[in-house]
């Protein structure tokens, strides 16, 4: 066995000091045995990486979301919101929030899209954004301001912080809640009239919708 054989893997892993690495490199160029061994270690190493990757993918409970690209994801959510809001009857389905009036805005679709994208943008900088006190506070401040200055505030993207802060606790609900009628997603007659759904949208590290939890 070649005396350099014991250094091949460390060399491959860039763990040798510069002069030692140079020595091994020079040797390998002239030693067929080492080249063959080195190629084998490289293959094993690559295969191990692929194996670990496959193991992780095999254990994943859910497939990757189709709308992974963050911009597309945010855009899709905004578009869906606009669609739901354009639905007749949606104006009556808002969840009440403190400090927000019940008036309808002149352009609900655009304001909801704006409302949806702003909190997303505001929390995008932190990996701990799912620690939810970050985003609701931003949203709440925004609403308070608009409630004072402009009574025609839109509360369809409701932040839970305004509600949960009333009893002095930190908000424990998702950053964005969207209420929409059951008819918007189910065929006519599938759900009793007047039933609404609330979608809790959580935002992932890369800004894509990580989890959308719909409850009646």
């Amino acid at each position: 066995m070649c005396e350099y054989a014991g250094k091949l893997i460390a060399w491959f892993d860039h763990e040798l000091l510069a002069d030692e690495a140079g020595e091994v490199e020079e040797h390998v160029q002239g030693c067929a045995e080492c080249r063959t061994e080195f190629a084998a270690y490289k293959r094993v190493s690559n295969m191990l990486d692929a194996y670990c990757e496959a193991t992780m993918e095999a254990s994943a409970p859910h497939p990757e979301p189709l709308w992974k690209p963050s911009v597309l994801g945010v855009g899709a959510v905004a578009a869906l919101l606009a669609l739901f809001l354009a639905w007749p009857g949606v104006r009556e389905t808002r969840r009440p929030a403190s400090g927000a009036s019940e008036e309808t805005t002149a352009d609900p679709a655009s304001s909801i899209a704006k409302g949806a994208s702003e909190p997303i943008g505001s929390v995008i900088s932190s990996p701990l954004r799912r620690a939810r006190h970050l985003s609701p506070i931003g949203v709440e401040r925004k609403r308070d301001f608009s409630a004072k200055g402009h009574p025609r505030t839109d509360n369809r993207v409701t932040s839970s912080s305004a509600v949960s802060r009333e009893d002095g606790r930190l908000p424990v609900e998702p950053a964005i809640e969207i209420t929409f009628p059951a008819e918007a997603v189910l065929p006519p007659g599938a759900a009793p009239e007047g039933v609404n759904f609330v979608a809790d949208v959580s935002i992932a590290a890369d800004g894509s919708p990580q989890q959308i939890f719909v409850r009646p």
Binding site: G6, I9, A10, D13, E15, A40, Y41, R43, V44, S45, M47, L48, D49, A50, Y51, C52, E53, A54, T55, M56, E57, A58, S59, A60, P61, S125, S126, P127, L128, R130, A131, R132, H133, L134, L170, V172, S202, A204, A205, D206, Q210, Q211
Partner: protein
């Protein structure tokens, strides 16, 4: 709740401290950490939990002025120990660490190639099972992109020992898999 949510137990004061570093580290290391834990034998949900707890600890560590040196090995060590504490599942790896049948090749290739790859993975899975615990952990941490020095810090062994262990483990795999 599954997914990437983090529990809400952090005080607001000092929250921003270290948040930037935590963000960068989270983006860079979340996946390698998950992969390491799953390959150790944790279920996907358990691994997600451990990763969340690990980054929560990282945040506390950074916001309380903890050292930023060797932070990668710090993260892996916390995750590794958390996995170790989930003793039941962690022990499972000694009997059935990774199921090679489940781990199918990921790339879409011809049926022949898929069969061939599956066979290779099966062999590799068997060979990995025959490694010692430390050999396996060294290889998995190495696959997670850690340097020998960092692996040594995670496992609490000298760097030279890591080098020898990785060398031995790769040789064993190469021998068993006939690559």
């Amino acid at each position: 709740m599954s997914g990437d949510s983090l529990p809400m137990s952090l005080p607001l004061a000092g929250f921003a401290t270290g948040a930037c570093e935590a963000t960068t580290l989270y983006r860079e290391l979340r996946k390698p950490l998950l992969r390491y834990l799953i390959c150790l034998g944790l279920s996907s949900d358990e691994a997600q939990d451990v990763v969340q707890d690990t980054f929560l600890s990282l945040h506390r560590h950074l916001s309380s002025g903890g050292s930023k040196e060797n932070i990668r090995s710090w993260l892996f060590r916390v995750a590794h120990n958390a996995a170790r504490n989930r003793q039941n599942r962690y022990d499972r790896r000694f009997s059935a660490p990774i199921d090679p049948e489940v781990a199918a090749p990921v790339d879409e290739a011809t049926p022949e190639r898929v069969v061939l790859e599956k066979e290779k993975f099966r062999q590799l899975g068997k060979a990995i099972q025959l490694l010692s615990g430390t050999e396996r952990e060294c290889l998995l941490l190495r696959a997670g992109g850690l340097r020998y020095r960092e692996i040594g810090e995670v496992l609490g062994i000298p760097t030279s020992t890591v080098g020898d262990t990785v060398d031995r483990a790769i040789r064993k795999l190469a021998e068993k898999c006939n690559v």
